[in-house]
Amino acid sequence: MAELLQFVITGLSVGMVYSLIALGFVLVWKSSSVANLALGQIVLISSWFTYSMLAQAELPVYIAFPLVVLFAMFLGWVIERFALRPLIAQPILSLIAVTLGIGYFIEGVITFIWPWSVDALPRLFPREVIHIGPAVISQEYVWVIVICLVVFVLLTVFFRYHKMGIAMRATADDQMAVQACGIPVTRVFSTSWMFACCVAAIGGILISSIGGITHGLVETGLKAFSVVILGGLDSFAGAIIAGPIIGLAESLGGGYLTPYIWAGVKDIIPFVIIIIVMCIKPYGLFGEERIERI
């Protein structure tokens, strides 16, 4: 029982982080239908940047965190402005390939600046463990869940009430109409990229505060795609709901299946889910099925 509760809490919190990263993907996909495959690398580089701010420059958290957010926004802006803008209206293959290229480039930059490749973030959350019933859970997981929920609420409010948020929803709905209304679509694109990188960066900090900074974060970014696929590519709600499902599947499966199959089955579950979803319901739980005309 205690075991189960522990798995559920860790699964939920990791799943929430997946949700955050997946939201970053959905944001960009909805506004500009670019599939951002560099998410994993963006997560990784923002974690390393946080590490530099906190451990190397030894800044206090309240200065470091805004700097990280600024950095992520800048990163998103640069990517959109210099790599994606020249490729507007290109076939999907080029758009996917260009994000792969960006990911490759970022990976090089990471090796260039932080070649030791494994490190731990300084403690962000209190160290004491919490007792929930019979289970013992380290506090980080609870904090992660809380922060994710706060970010979800902030994003929802932004999209509902802020002018830019409304413009972004409108662009997702109909690009031509939005342009005709005089909304600068290119600015919407770059804002969505800035937001996406920001959200991914927050997710990266949260997950690396639990597990440390390793190259595995790139894989975490890729695992977030299973959330996107399960929830539906163009659905915010889908991403938020599918994240915890994937997290739970990963943690419960990893917890209970490992004795029966080979070790490390945890890392593979999201990818298996991708294949299963593809075969059964390729447009996900909440995704809109595209009907094509010739």
């Binding site: 599939a35 495959l37 790599a83 020249p86 490729l87 290109q90 999907i92 293959l93 080029s94 996917i96 390939a97 260009v98 792969l100 290229g101 960006i102 990911g103 490759y104 480039f105 970022i106 990976e107 090089g108 930059v109 990471i110 090796t111 260039f112 600046i113 932080w114 070649p115 030791w116 790139v218 894989e219 890729l222 795609f225 299973s226 996107v228 696929i229 590519l233 080979w262 070790a263 490390g264 890392d267 593979i268 990818f271 298996v272 991708i274 294949i275 593809m278 075969c279 390729p282 094509e292 010739i294």
Partner: protein, 350 residues
Amino acid sequence: MSLPCGTRNYNYAEDMGIVRTKTHWVLLIAFLVILFTAPLYFGNYWLGVFNLIGITLIAAIGLNILVGYCGQLSIGHAGFIAVGAYTAAILTNRLEMPFLVGLIGAGVVSGLIGIIFGLPSVRVKGFYLAITTIAAQFIIIWVINHWSLTGGFVGIKVPYASIGGLVFRSESSQFYLIIIIAALCVFFAKNLARTKVGRAFIAIRDNDLAAEVMGVNLLYYKLLAFFIGCFFAGIAGALLAHWIGFLNAEQFSFTESILYVGMIIIGGLGTSIGPIFGVIFIRILQQLLTMELVPFLESTFTNFPAGFATGVTPMLFGLVIVLFLILEPRGLAHRWALFKSAYRLWPFSY
């Protein structure tokens, strides 16, 4: 196809010919002669590079058929190469089968795995398919790392390739083996594009719904594309296994998959000459960077943390892929076509 002045077609066979004029023949034969006498002028180091290029070329041709001709985006090619490599290793090392059985077996097994992971392509395309193939890559590598048959994290040894009593032990003998197979693959790919199958692939790439309406069997041709593409990957994997002699899942990472996509984009998608250019470009660049630039940087900037210069290679590769997509999306093959037409028309501009 534009022909030199004075060359005309008198029958259909002539119209379909790949090698047309005397100059073509001379150039082709001269190229083949130079290629097959290469071990005379190059040392073992460069022969090793050529071997790697040949192996990569076979895999890239497969990917080009899948992505460039059929339009089915695959970002898990290194995974399929790994399947081929490990199949060959298991067949020749554990079961002690002859090399040729291992080679064909690697291709077939890899192709079948490709069909399994290609099944979603019947319903989805574009980004969905890209994600499926990424998932395939990770699942394959995970299985390899944990299955006792494959040697797991420890790796597996592979004996030298041998046909009959002939053992391909030295770099130069392996060079002949690899180059002959690579040449056959190039020939096959060049001809495939002109057959019914190739045209069906191109129709699917351009618009799969329209192709279906025209009577192209989507299920069959998409899976066939996956089979052919992964078959080539398997052959390349088998050759790689016998060439290196030792396998470890590290050699088939996700970044390697991205690099393969980069190669065919840099070369030019959907052209028969594209993969050749792309592979040579990337592999030579890689060789120069890792052998020349990285040690140079490491020894010059000693006050940086150790190992920083290894980041230069992925940085440059990423940059090259992005720049090619933005500035020359049709790749080096397009430049080559421009050069050829300029040469043909010289001294006039058109």
